[in-house]
Amino acid sequence: MELSKKTTKGWQVIEVNGQVDSKTVGDLRDYLDENIKGDLPVALELSDVPFMSSAGLRTMLTLYRKTQDMNVKLCLVGLIEEIAETMKVTGFYQYFTNYPSLSALPEEQK
């Protein structure tokens, strides 16, 4: 799994590349803990994530609860259709604002 960050339109964008499952989810969680700052909304760019296991989806929801506690907005970007469908039928999807691409992200005022 490759992870990187950048800032776009007032969002801190975390780009994830690779499968998110129980083997990689620890790396993702650690990276998010280290890099998410409490002063900007967070966008997780997932268009290069081909599969997300049950453990991966749980990390998404834990992140949602964490950003909720921090009073920081969270959205998902570029989720592929198969993962989106799995998230819908298992109840994970409803928590997130989703955008098809970074260009669709609204401008955020700090």
């Binding site: 129980s22 296991s53 049950s54 453990a55 749980r58 929801l61 819908k88 039928v89 298992t90 109840g91």
Partner: protein, 710 residues
């Protein structure tokens, strides 16, 4: 805050390369803890226990860890294994011990056994996908996360008297292409059809078995049609704590737990309760010729009722009988139901062949079965509906006498039988049907039970559908491949003049009317009405009254019927809503309190003349009137008068005199070929109505509005 590291997060020794320490005996099963998994398993007569771990989907074990003898407390082996990935692990056990069937012991160390407390089971993840029959340990226990975010959901706790139950098969409900859902035949597919259920008006679904089972158990090819036959209904449990993976669109990802919880949450959001059809009377291990999957090899003598020679008692008709009043098995059943109620927010349970649960270890019926009492008074289950199928295959029939402990309801088989006979015009039914439609006080009043004890039904998954009940005199089960020898021969059905398919308009019209009559009778009876999937649109199984093995359009709901039988659907829907609007139909007491505001009895019977029911053996005509005092939100008493004429000629029914300032309104008339239900209702021109042959009219009394008195 400083988090103090727990001592038990560290291993004490290494076995076969895996860090371990003594586990905790409770809870049973496999539980996620920080850094590891706690495994706990019971065996009273086993002499050693080995935990077998597999990497997911691999044939050969990853490691076998014999649980050290000093890890055992009482009869429970427990061990914590550290640094294993719960998502990548499958597990089972080998138990050593005597193999002496005559003494009840069938230990065999060569078999890998499934944990009876497994909450996630892989091996049959996609419905109908041919298994590898050579695979060792075919059904594999896994460890779920069990951390679903329920938000503010909780069981609905709808008053039992207000329930309208819809029995359905998860796969059959949406598998047909006509369902139009994205995930046919799954929990997710059912979610997509919640708007349909909501508009129909039902407020509880009763799901046919969703505990993990193997659709390939006893599967075979039909000798004439070559059709693959399955264990489609699933009344043969593999794992009591695990939802059926192949009913989940995400079963292939092992996410059936979340998908099923999302279904429950979605149904609750629509105001619909979830009742599970649970099968505790037997397991999928069969008799001495059946496979050893779990209980047989763990502690055969504890889990099964055995003859003195060590053979299996067969009160279930399927080979074995779970020994439910053994204290260990009792705890398993209790743990299981608590788990489903607490972890899945399940609202109620219907117990298949529940009379078995009241037998002692040698099969004799108990007067105060401890299991039934335990369930009745359990603090976690206190709001759950407990419904018994109050008979078993060993000849015990307990409708009306099931040990209820003030809590248990019953599938009322006597309601079904009498309603069927009354509807087809059998003589001598008037007296009994009067009991049945009051909630069967003859069965339940003397023991202090209430009308909502009685789950009233005319059809269920077992037997003819409603459409077939009015189209066939005989069963036609050839598709099951058993030479039409399976299924009940005594269906109490009437084909209305031709067996099966007919294009005679008179026959078709009569059948349609008879289906409406059945719905009218069911939905105006006190007690809990239950209808089976598709009866509201006239679903047929072509005369098959036992489609347990058919995963085909015979068993599936054809959603195109919604168009072709729209009048029956609209009639049923209107009736369900009518029932929910009329508290007089849902009075949950046998006191028959007088309704003083209108000076009428709570329940009264009538004939062609008011207050004069004809109880004669040859009578086929009965009217009943149910009343109740005004609700807090209204100043109008509720009155529902139902005139049923099952004779082959029309009759004039004179109505009781309406109370002062009230008028009679016709709401339903199955005998009116132009219109069977009237919204908002037609004021009756006279104080009576001509009820056509084999027809039912439903009439209410409403206060006369001021402008209509001018």
């Amino acid at each position: 805050m400083t988090i103090i590291e727990r001592i038990d997060q560290r291993s004490t020794e290494t076995i076969n390369g895996y860090k371990v320490r003594p586990g905790k005996p409770l809870p049973f099963g496999a539980s996620l803890i920080q850094n590891g998994i706690n495994f706990s398993i019971y065996s009273s007569a086993g002499t050693s226990c080995t935990l077998v771990l597999f990497a997911k989907e691999q044939d050969q074990p990853l490691v076998e860890i014999q649980i050290p003898e000093n890890y055992k407390i009482g009869d429970v082996y427990s061990i914590i294994v550290f640094d294993v990935n719960p998502e990548e692990i499958e597990y089972g056990y080998r138990i050593d011990g005597p193999h002496n069937p005559g003494a009840g012991h069938r230990f065999n160390r060569a078999e890998i056994l499934m944990d009876p407390y497994a909450r996630l089971i892989s091996g049959r993840d996609e419905w109908g996908k041919k298994p590898n029959w050579e695979r060792p340990y075919p059904y594999r226990a896994r460890v779920p996360f069990d951390d679903f975010d329920w938000q503010d959901d909780r069981p609905l706790e709808i008053d039992p008297a207000d329930l309208v139950i819809y029995e359905l098969h998860v796969r059959g409900f949406t598998k047909d292409g006509s369902s139009g859902v994205s995930h046919p035949g799954t929990y997710a597919g059912l979610v997509e059809k919640i708007p349909y259920l909501k508009q129909l008006g039902i407020n509880a679904v009763e799901l046919m078995p969703i505990f993990e089972f193997d659709e390939f158990e006893n599967s075979r090819i039909h000798p004439e049609t070559n059709e693959q036959l399955y264990n489609y209904w699933g009344y043969s449990t593999l794992g009591f704590f695990a939802p059926k993976a192949a009913f989940a669109s995400t079963g292939k990802f092992g996410m059936q737990v979340d998908e099923f919880k999302q279904l429950v949450k979605s149904l609750h959001a629509a105001g619909i309760e979830v009742i599970l059809d649970v099968v505790f009377n037997h397991t999928a291990e069969g008799n001495e010729n059946g496979p050893t999957l779990s209980f047989k090899g763990l502690d055969n003598k504890t889990y099964y009722m055995l003859t003195p020679e060590g053979y299996y008692f067969n009160f279930s008709g399927t080979g074995n009988t779970l020994n439910c009043n053994n204290p260990v098995v009792r705890s398993l059943v209790l743990d299981c139901l608590r788990y489903w109620a607490a972890e899945y927010h399940i609202d109620g349970f219907r117990f298949d062949l529940a009379s078995i649960l009241g037998r002692d270890p040698w099969g004799a019926p108990l007067s105060n079965p401890p299991l039934l009492e335990t369930l009745a008074f359990d603090p976690i289950l206190s709001s759950c509906k407990l419904i018994a199928e109050a008979w078993d295959a060993g000849g015990l029939y307990q409708v009306g006498t099931f040990p209820a402990f003030g809590r248990w309801g019953e599938w009322n088989g006597k309601y079904r039988d009498c309603a069927r006979k009354f509807l087809k015009g059998d003589q001598g039914q008037i007296g009994e049907i009067a009991q049945r439609l009051q909630g069967s006080p003859d069965l339940y009043k003397h023991t202090g039970r209430s009308p909502a004890t009685s789950v009233n039904f005319i059809t269920c998954h077992d037997g003819f559908t409603l459409s077939d009940l009015v189209s066939f005199n005989e069963k036609h089960n050839e598709a099951n491949g058993e030479g039409n020898n399976d299924g009940n021969n005594d269906n109490l059905s009437w084909n209305c003049g031709a067996e099966g398919w007919s294009d005679d308009p008179n026959i078709l019209q009569l059948r349609q009317r008879q289906m409406m009559n059945a719905m009218a009778l069911l939905l105006t009876s006190r007690g809990i009405p239950m209808i089976v999937m598709g009866d509201e649109v006239g679903r047929s199984q072509h005369g098959n009254n036992n489609a347990y093995c058919l995963d085909s359009p015979i068993s599936w709901l054809d959603w195109k019927l919604l168009d072709s039988n729209q009048s029956l659907h609209d009639f049923t829907k209107a009736l369900i809503h009518f029932r929910l609007q009329h508290p007089a139909l849902r009075v949950n007491s046998f006191d028959n309190k007088h309704t003083y505001s209108i000076d009428m009895p709570g329940c009264s019977f009538h004939g062609a003349e008011p207050w004069k029911p004809n109880w004669d053996e040859n009578s086929r005509q009965l009217a009943w009137m149910m009343t109740s005092e005004p609700q807090t939100t209204s100043n109008e008493a509720d009155m529902v008068y139902v005139a049923a004429n099952m004779a082959h000629y029309a009759s004039w029914y004179e109505l009781p005199k309406a109370p002062a300032s009230y008028q009679w309104i016709l709401n339903f008339n199955t005998g009116d070929t132009n219109c069977q239900h009237f919204t908002p209702g037609n004021e009756l021109a006279q104080n009576g109505i001509l009820v056509g042959e084999r027809s039912i009219a439903i009439i209410t009394a409403s206060k006369i509005k001021p402008e209509s008195t001018i």
